[in-house]
């Protein structure tokens, strides 16, 4: 295994984050804090508790997931798209690195960034609302699993995209709506039965539900189901990446 290459790419990507710290760390933290102020304190005060959890605390896991998803996708997709766009990808393609190493380095860096961000947002949330974490181990597991899975998903988008619009398209048109409708701000039990069924087709529901369970022991679907669905999505992403590299899809002519 070419560990030096993994290290070089990983540190390069982390360095890029540091350079763009406003965009990659500070702005998500600020926007999430605004959610806490508006929903947690201002509006949340007038919303009754959900199963014994104050509304402000109830939305914390969903908001962390929201940032985790969008940041993982944008970090990873940008990380691989940009070299393609500028042409510096030639070096990666001509280097003695395996596809597996490329994926590990890029996805690892993107996931690390989102995890750091997730932890910062959690810490910020603790300043605004009273919080507890009942199952810290599961919480960390979900944090890491989600960051890795969606970084991989972002990596796929980055390879697939052949323009900046496409790069923005999927996060904006698909991921953000799915996250908002995935129970960040409500329990899906609050929905009419028909919509509850529709919602179960939204993969993000399982992530948020599982993540919230690790905090308060509350979940819309069983924790095992959440975990299984996340793993299924992870495996699907791995298979797609494998196929892309095997065929040189949009990387080599």
């Amino acid at each position: 295994m070419n560990l030096y290459a993994i290290r070089a790419i990983y540190l390069f990507e982390m360095h890029r984050t540091w350079r763009t710290i406003m965009q990659s760390i500070i702005s998500p933290v600020i926007s999430t804090s605004l959610y806490f102020v508006v929903f947690g304190s201002a509006i949340g005060g007038r919303i009754p508790e959900i199963n014994g959890v104050s509304y402000g605390a109830f939305i914390v896991p969903g908001l962390v997931m929201l940032s985790l998803l969008t940041q993982s996708i944008s970090n990873a997709s940008f990380g691989i798209y940009f070299p393609k766009f500028t042409g510096t990808i030639y070096e990666l393609l001509s280097a003695p690195v395996s596809y597996f190493e490329i994926v590990i380095a890029y996805v690892g860096a993107a996931a690390s960034k989102s995890i750091i961000l997730g932890v910062i947002i959690l810490a910020t949330a603790a300043l605004f609302v009273p919080m507890r974490i009942e199952h810290p181990f599961v919480m960390v597991l979900f944090l890491v699993l989600t960051a890795v899975t969606f970084s991989l998903f972002g990596f796929i988008i980055g390879i697939w995209a052949d323009g900046f619009e496409k790069l923005q398209l999927v996060p904006l048109m698909i991921v953000t709506p799915l996250t908002f409708l995935g129970g960040s701000f409500y329990s899906i039990d609050m929905l009419p039965p028909f919509w509850r069924t529709v919602t179960l087709f939204n993969p993000v529901v399982y992530l948020i539900s599982g993540f919230r369970w690790s905090f308060y022991g509350l979940s819309d679907v069983h924790i095992g189901t959440s975990l299984a669905m996340t793993l299924v999505f992870l495996i699907v992403c791995i298979l797609i990446v494998r196929w892309m590299f095997k065929t040189g899809y949009r990387l080599k002519s």
Binding site: N2, L3, A5, A8, L11, T88, P96, S98, S112, G248
Partner: protein
Amino acid sequence: MHVAWRVFCLMGLLTCFVRRWFENQFGSPYKENHSSNDGSCLLFHSTGDVATENSVRIDPMSSAISVSNLHKTYDSGFEALKNINLDIHHGEIFALLGPNGAGKTTLISTICGIVNPTSGTILADGHDIQKEYRAARTKIGLVPQELTTDAFETVWNTVSFSRGLFGKPSKPSHVEKILKDLSLWDKKDNKIITLSGGMKRRVMIAKALSHEPEILFLDEPTAGVDVELRRDMWNVVRALRESGVTIILTTHYIEEAEQMADRIGVISKGEIILVEEKNELMRSLGKKQLRLHLQEEHSAVPDTLAKYGLELAASGSELIYSYDAHEDKTGIASLLKDLDKAGIGFNDIQTKQSSLEEIFVNLVRERK
């Protein structure tokens, strides 16, 4: 940042297992050669020569680069390379000439792994570039034609990055030497975006040299580079050659090829149409022609002049004498005396030498 890397390394141990699983489950991309590129961690082969013990050399006397029956058809259906067969010898400078769109970049990109070959095999120092891509690519450095760099990185970082990417442990003294050789040392902390075009080109050369390659590809290294810099660059190239590096370059400046190359190859429309020792070519260049415009038309060369191997041209009004300008006795003086004796008068005289450029232009034109 480095803390994150440490944590990541711990996770890396885990991923090693995942990788095993991954490859057992789905197969390695290059299964045929599993042994040579799997177990061997570059980390533990810091001398650089990876996997040579394990892999079988097809031909022990192999060339630095050996291309056989290479075809490349782009997705658009365009056939950019047609049955290329080419061997680059160890330690030589090989100049690849050809008009725009001939396929030079396509050929280089295919050898370096950026373009997938449609068919054919390529060996780099005896290693198949697809099956033993790790061993092959470790030996190769590439300076592409396009100027593409990470605009916001510093010169030092980007060159060190390349070294890591090619699996070498960091070695600041080597990076320092390269940057000094390429007169980039005082720019080492500058962001690349602040450099001029010629300096960016040098940064790309520095990147390609960062991992101490044995084979170096330079795709039009002197395009857009001023005279002084070009001289510096050739000095670096010569020094590399002295140290045993094999160099393949493309250029549109034919004098450059004439000065630098050991061998010259000409490619046109995706086909190699000439590969020749430069000295051999120069010898045929040494041939000059003397043309004499005769006062009267002649139907045949008189027997007394037979030893000169003269040719009649322009319906008998021109005599052509070919000679070697490098020889001490060109025979011109005695020819003129003998012409006088034979009573053949002439009113004009002309000598002509064909240049590499002319040979090149003619070769390429013939193909059109």
